[in-house]
Amino acid sequence: MRLLRQYWALLTMNLAGAPARAGLVSTLIIGVACAVGVLVSMLAMGVGARQEAMGNVRPERVILRSQGATGVADSRITKDLALQLRDLPGIRRDAKGAPIAVSEAFVFIQARDKRSGSRLGFPMRGITGELTAYLPELHLTSGRMFKTGLRELIASNRCAERFSDFKVGDRRIMRGGEWPIVGRFDLGGTLGNCVVFGDGEAILAAFGRDAFNQVDVMLQRENDFEGLVKAIKANPLMKVDARHEAQIVADSSRQLIGILDFVSYFVGTIMALAATMGAVNSLYAMVDQRRRDIATLRALGFNGLPIIASVLTESMLLALPGAVLGALVAWALFNGTAASPLGASFHLQVTPALGALGLTWALVIGLISGFLPAIRAARVPVTVALRAV
């Protein structure tokens, strides 16, 4: 109890002196703010990329690819097989009673970038089946849906932003024919990359192909997945792997997010170390300025333990405003900013969770940097006080 009282007295004394040491205090705060600000801003990229990738994912959506396919490119689902897959159990049915399942043929084509004029690739997906039933987040913003069997395309709004010749009414020349853009769409909250949809049969025929890449199905409920897998296993002719959409999306974005997070923590750690050095220096100076006060208190019978505790608490409390400042600046500057590193496009997202992470880092920086100065404070000899009298 006595120690607690001493601790409290010391802490209030330390903090009351802060305004008089504005220079040192602000150095500590700004150092922490810079470290936390950079960490939070950089991690916001990973959060944004994750949100961009997973934003539209639904647990009921399942993707069927050839058994053993390493990706969409080497997966091959024949038209016959695609038809059989539609009748698997557990698939949700639309108002007309038809299963919600679409067959997709992927073709990677190129278009001219508006700004640089260079050619960039993006996927064109040939769809057979009710696309809007499978992708309810798809909203046509202008024009209309492509018609079955015709060489017509709809393009995401992102295509028109990035590439030339993607306005509704534009005609793209492919395989010796004209493919008019008949509609434009967006996909809900995500920024999205350029995606073009067209009729599956038309695209298969035009590109000389006889098979789709994959079949996408919408399940009744998420836990109908087991039944679906069992039914596939029971039929030896169905050589397909079923995986949740979430898993496929997570797999394909894991590398990007991994790189972003690694770089964030690498840079963040170095900045935190530098901030710690700066904070230790400031705290040393603050403790040195208080030597006489501390020695006097020691002479009055104050214990070493409360002194250490009070300095540690002080350093952590001083680091907190730095963290808040850093996180706020990161939020104000970068929240919602569009970024496109490594070919991915997303909005940076400074979330409360990141803010909390920033606070934790700040507390750790405060704790570590307070350690040595706290010990120094506790070892101030009593004679310092007596000599000063």
Partner: protein, 381 residues
Amino acid sequence: MKFFFLIWSGIWRKPARTTLILLQVALAFALFGVLQGMKSGVERAVQDVRGDLLLVNPAAVGGTPLPVAHLERLRSVPGVKSVAYADMLIGTYQKPDQIVAALALDPSDEWLTLAPSFFKVLPKDLAALHKTRSGALITVDVGRRYGWKLGDRVPVKSLTPRVDGSSTWFFDVVGYIEDNEPGQSSLIAINYPYLDEGRARNQGTVRNFYAIIADPHQAAAMSERIDSTFANSSAETATASLRESAQQTMKTIGDLDFAIRAIVSAVLIALLFSISTLMMQSIRERVPELAVLKTVGFTDRHVWVMVIIEALTVCVAAAAIGLGMAMVLFPYAAKYVPGLSMPPSVLLTGLLGALLVALIGVAFPARMAARLPVVAALSGR
């Protein structure tokens, strides 16, 4: 000399404080060095990419592949020196996640000059591959992960079916290649004729051609010329030089520059504050000493210069240490980030930055030291 001694003792007046500042500045500039080195490394890597090597890809990947018959027409395009081609067989070894990416090379010796843009191969290894139809050259990484060694006959399961109906391809490991891409590699090199005659689908097609042109400055025009040669054919092409493709990739890293600038600014702001307040603190503690110096004849300007040189020495030395640390780290990081390098320009920018930070940070403390009234200082007021 007396100045040097005074400055030196000024620097080490509080060894702990100076060590911490040194560490802080060194860390900041090590970070600066790594970030800038990464950027300049990527830029240089793009510059080093061959400009005379055109990749002739199908206009639509996933559509009909390019027929190998395009070869003769490509060779006859004026300005094209030589042409090679390759296909790719994707498969797995034993487990679905043990991927094997087999690049099937045409039988020409062109690969001796072509290969370095993609992987490193010794002439004797390439000769061994050409001699063994079912041969394969593997990377050390693949050998280690899958347990393959010279002389092994390895099965690769693929979704590319064989004419005999099976889906397993056998290869004889006859040599080694070294992948240019860092990280986990799944690359092996095999013979195109073995793949093409063995597969049930897409016989007589290739993934892409490699056209070497006489004049690298004509790369863009030559690409257009090649594409127009095959325009409106059943297999249209999309041609780009390897360097142009690398530049595309560079652009996708685009925001790197902004991020680096933002991080470096934050680092410098924190440093400025640190140096400025700690120098202030140091001057305050040294008031009596400085007053004595002035009493024995040092002018205000002398003191001013001394304080500035003190800060400059610490900052520039620390920056040099930090940049040095980054350079020492680079060979280790090169495994993960290709082309890391520290050109003299980065080194110079770093040192100049340190100089600038020190000058700005010390400006106010130095002025304070210079204007110190002697009488007040000595009397302890």
